[in-house]
Subunit: 154 residues, 2 copies
DNA sequence: TTGACGCCCATGAAATCCCATGTTAACCCA
DNA sequence: TGGGTTAACATGGGATTTCATGGGCGTCAA
């Protein structure tokens, strides 16, 4: 299972390219598609990203719903239609599509933020503000987490 | 596993030809039929499309319904009877049959919309309106998708 | 003959690959 | 432990290929 940890800030060059942090690339090894899948977050000014495996899982989950149902339709067009497949080039970089960069307010630098099985891409200053908020929030609410037992065979 | 992701808008030339997005073509590789299967959606002004493999799956699912039932008959005649096999030419294009183009209101451009295992073909402006709706719908209902565990051996 | 269709080629723009460089971090050896 | 060497990585720019798109030509059938 791919694990994305820590935060890295890299530059965006005039072609719109950014290096994907080396540790993230390592986590992506052995996928059927050498790259990431990215889409606009519907919760804020950030880009959500994950490996293609996760999309395959999502697709299977969609198949479990009734084909041609309204629910299936809404989810499919929200998740898959808006996603972008970003291949990683020989130098470990991706090119950010303008739509995504604008949504996140990214211009000359991008912050890669690990979230476990997925990660996010932020404009660095937007992220620092967000992080302060999130920490405060967690402290106030005394957020806790219960560990889920490991599935068999992993 | 074939996965159709993202949205691409391509032009329709005066012969009725459209380029199938390169990534979609890649997802279609290794099929028994080099092309797509397309039929009019009965839910809206769009064309449903998928690989030939998917039709075989649908056929199996259809067999699981009661033979001669109203539902089985409805699906069989809306999907299979209406389906067109559209071969992909040497330049990666298909020719849209007038019946389908008219149903979707497509004239000079077509939007290829990924939905995981399948995709849709829309008139670009019709689709943008639909997408706004779908997003709102998904957000309101807080629609989430329970991830289905990965099958063994994958 | 005319139109539908398949096949081939030309073109411009955009995406991708390739190489060069500086900088930082890891490593090794005395 | 400290200094020097090496390797990994991020980054910039140029070269090359892919891709979408337009058009032409021959074939076949109505």
């Amino acid at each position: 299972m791919a694990l994305f940890i820590s935060t890295f800030v890299n530059k965006v060059d005039r072609k719109g390219r950014v290096s994907v942090p080396a540790t993230f690339r390592a986590a992506l090894k052995g996928q059927t598609f050498n790259g990431i899948v990215a889409f606009r977050s519907y919760r804020g000014a950030t880009i959500e990203a994950c490996a293609i495996d996760r999309m395959e899982e999502l697709s299977r989950s969609l198949d479990a719903l009734d084909q041609f149902s309204a629910e299936q339709d809404a989810l499919a067009s929200t998740i898959f239609a808006d996603a972008h497949q970003l291949p990683i080039d020989g130098d470990g970089r991706i090119t950010l599509p303008p739509v995504l960069a604008e949504h996140a307010g990214i211009s000359d630098a991008a912050a890669f933020v690990g979230r476990g099985a997925t990660f996010q891409i932020w404009a660095p200053d937007t992220f620092s503000r967000h992080q302060v908020e999130a920490r405060k929030n967690a402290a106030e609410r005394g957020a806790t987490l219960r560990l889920v037992p490991r599935p068999k065979g992993e």
